[in-house]
């Protein structure tokens, strides 16, 4: 757990990087700091491992005030991932990952074998271990960066725009990978980004900061989309927030309709096991739209309805059997019902 | 020692006689200017060509490295033996020293111009000649002057040795002092050469700053911007 209490950072020239921040990043969660450049998000992050010291206020890591600790020792116990990975060009990938364990006094052989396992864990072929960073792609380098941060078994991970320098496709891969790793490892992660989509995708909690270093809103991503506290947050969260919010609303209580056999002329064709194969209108056979599977979000439910040629989406259970139809109106109704966030 | 040096510098004959300090200084500057000029006439066009076309890059690098290892004194005495005493062998030997830094500076300046700017110029319909003289040359000027600076210093230093092959210049004091066991005269000559080199260096630094756009906004010692004059490492002084 990381607690910021009344933390302020002002520089000698008078610039205030952080006005007064109080915030708690909970154990085992991903807490994202997001905001435009100049909002003090990176400063906030760097105060946790004392790369920057606050002008006033305290930061506690699992209850211990970090200002009482020797910086290098403190840092060896906190994983750190930055943009462009910052790998050591003169060391092999394996030795890069082994850096912190070796600093902590573990034997090189032991650290290396542990590093090999970590490489696999972040989705890399262990054979890249003997290469130099310059021989890897940007995405691979960033994975090594994550492995290196995990190598010290630190319970806390600081990530400063770790995925900003890679292209969008690779970025999405890395984000998925982080969520998968986090579900296995359950570290306490403080994550800085300027990309609100990334914040919404990764964060259990999202802190939106304003230029000048004040906290505008601190909420789970769904609440941020549903109820931005002011124009700044609404503007920052951006377009399509209503639509994007759908992915945080469960479709469990969605009222499914039955498929009429006559009426508008559209017939759903199913196979012997009850799985949908297509639509039929008169003699025309038409392909299915997207299919909503039970347990997915309202976003997939609406998409199923909007993409279906008949205007009615198809919902299936986990075996793929048809369980009902989705009327767009039902999605909207459910959305309105959930608009008053239950906090 | 110091008092005899002061006496040496203070003697009126030093400043008026035909073999006095002003004459020696002018001779020294004359050899230097002539050699650098001849070197530039050869090196600059070649550097422009290589920089613009990218052909013959290895030649520049190889030449800069190889000539640096060539002992100046040896080259000088060899030329004198081959061509006889006089100004020509000295100027040729000194020119040989001036060429590598001038060539490297010109080449580095031209090839260092932002390719996007050259591309844009070509896209706007400029001819290759217009690109070279209108876009590349102005942008290459700081590095070209840096090359000129290195070449000049190298030549000023080596011109001292010209006295060894019976020419004038400030080196005379050192060589004659050595022959006459007159250490005051040697030291006086050495100090004059050092001062001349430093004055030229400062003056050429000024020129370099004047042709470098935007230097005022960006201090040369800013750690983020490696100071101009990197071609210094291209050749060594003598």
């Amino acid at each position: 757990m990381i607690e910021f209490s009344d933390v302020r950072k002002a520089y000698p020239d008078g610039t205030v990087a952080l006005q007064s921040l109080s915030l708690t990043a909970r154990e085992g969660e991903i807490t994202v700091l997001v905001g435009p450049s100049g909002c003090g998000k990176t400063t906030t992050l760097r105060m946790v491992n004392r790369m920057v010291d606050p002008s006033s206020g305290t930061i506690r890591l699992d209850g211990v005030d970090v200002s009482t600790q020797d910086p290098p020792t403190l840092r060896r116990g906190i994983g750190y991932v930055i943009q462009n990975a910052g790998l050591f060009p003169h060391r092999t990938v394996l030795d890069n990952v082994a850096t912190v364990p070796v600093l902590l006094g573990r034997s090189r052989a032991e650290a290396r074998s542990a590093a090999g396992e970590l490489l696999e864990r972040v989705g890399l072929d262990p054979r890249v271990g003997s290469r130099y960073p310059a021989q890897l792609s940007g995405g691979q380098q960033q994975r090594v960066g994550v492995a290196r941060a995990l190598a010290g078994d630190a319970p806390v991970l600081l990530m400063d725009e770790p995925f900003s320098a890679v292209d969008p496709v690779v970025r999405a891969d890395l984000q998925d990978e982080l969520l998968r790793l986090q579900s296995e490892l359950g570290r306490t992660i403080l994550f800085v980004t300027h990309d609100i989509d990334e914040a919404i995708r990764l964060g259990d909690m999202v802190a939106v900061l304003r230029v000048g270093g004040t906290l505008a809103q601190f909420a789970p991503p769904a609440d941020l989309l549903a109820a931005p506290v002011d124009d700044f947050v609404a503007g920052f969260v951006g377009r399509d927030r209503g639509y994007r919010r759908l992915q945080f609303v469960g479709a469990g209580s969605l009222a499914l309709s039955s498929f009429p056999t006559t009426g508008d002329g559209w017939l759903l064709v199913v196979d012997d096991d009850g799985r949908p194969t297509g639509w039929r209108q008169g003699d025309d056979h038409v392909a299915l739209g997207t299919v909503h599977e039970e347990g997915e979000s309202l976003r997939s439910a609406l998409d199923a309805a909007l993409s279906s040629p008949s205007g009615r989406g198809v919902a299936v259970d986990e075996d793929g059997k048809v369980i009902g139809g989705i009327e767009p109106e039902a999605v909207i109704t459910l959305l309105h019902a959930s608009a008053e966030p239950a906090r | 020692m110091l008092s005899s040096l002061i006496a040496w510098f203070g003697a009126p004959a030093q400043w008026s006689a035909a073999a006095g300090i002003p004459t020696r200084l002018l001779q020294h500057l004359g050899y230097t200017a002539l050699s650098v000029l001849v070197g530039a006439v050869i090196a600059v066009p070649v550097g422009l060509y290589i920089g613009h076309t990218g052909r013959g890059r290895l030649l520049v690098v190889g030449l800069a490295n190889g000539l640096r290892a060539l002992p100046e004194l040896g080259v000088l005495v060899l030329f004198v033996l081959l061509l006889g005493l006089g100004l020509t062998p000295v100027v040729l030997a000194l020119m040989l020293l001036a060429i590598p830094p001038l060539l490297a500076g010109t080449y580095a300046g031209i090839s260092g111009v932002d390719p996007a700017a050259v591309d844009a110029a070509r896209g706007m319909g400029m001819t290759e000649r217009q690109i070279l003289f209108g876009v590349e040359l102005p942008n290459a000027l700081p590095l070209m002057v840096a090359g000129l600076r290195t070449a000049t210093l190298q030549v000023v230093a080596t011109a001292t040795i010209a006295a060894f092959v019976s020419l004038g210049g400030l080196g005379r004091y050192i060589v004659d002092g050595q022959a006459q066991r007159d250490f005051t005269q040697m030291a006086g000559g050495a100090i004059l050469v050092a001062l001349l080199a430093i004055v030229l260096e400062v003056a050429l630094q000024g020129v370099q700053r004047a042709v470098t756009p935007g230097t005022r906004a960006r201090p040369a010692s800013d750690p983020a911007t490696p100071a101009v004059g990197k071609p210094d490492t291209v050749t060594a002084g003598g």
């Binding site: 491992n49 290098p72 020792t73 840092r75 060896r76 750190y80 930055i82 943009q83 910052g86 790998l87 050591f88 003169h90 060391r91 912190v100 600093l103 310059a134 021989q135 792609s137 995405g139 290196r148 010290g152 | 020692m1 640096r68 290892a69 002992p71 100046e72 004194l73 040896g74 080259v75 005495v77 060899l78 004198v80 033996l81 210093l153 230093a157 001292t160 040795i161 060894f164 092959v165 080196g171 050192i174 060589v175 002092g177 050595q178 030291a187 000559g189 050495a190 100090i191 050469v193 050092a194 080199a197 430093i198 260096e201 010692s221 750690p223 210094d232 490492t233 060594a236 002084g237 003598g238």
Partner: protein, 215 residues
């Protein structure tokens, strides 16, 4: 081995010592100075122009002035060694600064964030990464040093440079050509050895070249 009336091998050995000892001394002096100039803006502002001025002084002038500064005799080889050390320092302080500047800032940030202390970071990360630039500087210093030693012959301390002064006095072209070639060969051999040393100390630098960084 006697050639042109002189014992060549001892002369060559003397030439190597006179050329390389200053480079070694210069490196030892330049490392702390360069590190200081890299760290402190003020030190950089003083040291870099100062080394620039030192580098400007013609070698013959420096050889001649050395006895005044050091109190040595005019014919003492120490004059040449010290003067060439001055050049090596003038050249290498810049190389050390450039080499340390070469270390990417995110690498430094990562090092600090992982808990390196300043000395550990310098020895374990910064200096190894500065090696390619540093070796390039040492190569320039060493090669120029071989040619500068010969200038000492004018004041009677030039090792193989004596071949030039004697050859000139005797109008003996072959002796001069032999001197040129032997100094050139020595310098280029040392240069090649230094290049190999660089490869050995920084195997990773070769890994950087063939493949451009991409995603």
């Amino acid at each position: 081995m006697r050639l042109f009336g002189a014992d060549i091998l001892p002369l060559a050995a003397e030439h190597i010592v006179l050329a390389l000892v200053p480079v070694l001394l210069g490196l030892v002096i330049s490392l702390p100075l360069g590190w200081w100039a890299w760290r402190s803006r003020g030190a950089r502002r003083i040291l870099l122009p100062l080394t620039g001025v030192l580098y400007t002084i013609p070698s013959l002038a420096l050889f001649v002035v050395m006895p005044i500064v050091l109190g040595t005799r005019i014919l003492d080889p120490v004059n040449v060694v010290v003067a060439l050390t001055v050049y090596a320092v003038a050249l290498l302080v810049r190389s050390v600064v450039d080499g340390l500047d070469e270390v990417p800032s995110e690498v430094l940030t990562a090092g600090v964030a992982m808990g390196y202390r300043p000395l550990g970071l310098l020895v374990g990360v910064q200096l190894p990464l500065a090696v390619p630039v540093l070796i390039a500087g040492v190569r320039v210093a060493a090669v120029s040093s071989f040619s500068l030693v010969a200038v000492g012959a004018i004041i009677g301390q030039g090792a193989l440079g004596a071949l030039f002064t004697q050859g000139f006095e005797r109008f003996y072209t072959a002796q001069i050509v032999f001197g040129l070639v032997s100094i050139l060969v020595l310098a280029l051999v040392v240069d090649a050895l230094l290049m190999l040393l660089g490869r050995l100390l920084a195997p990773w630098a070769a890994a950087r070249a063939p493949k451009k960084q991409g995603v």
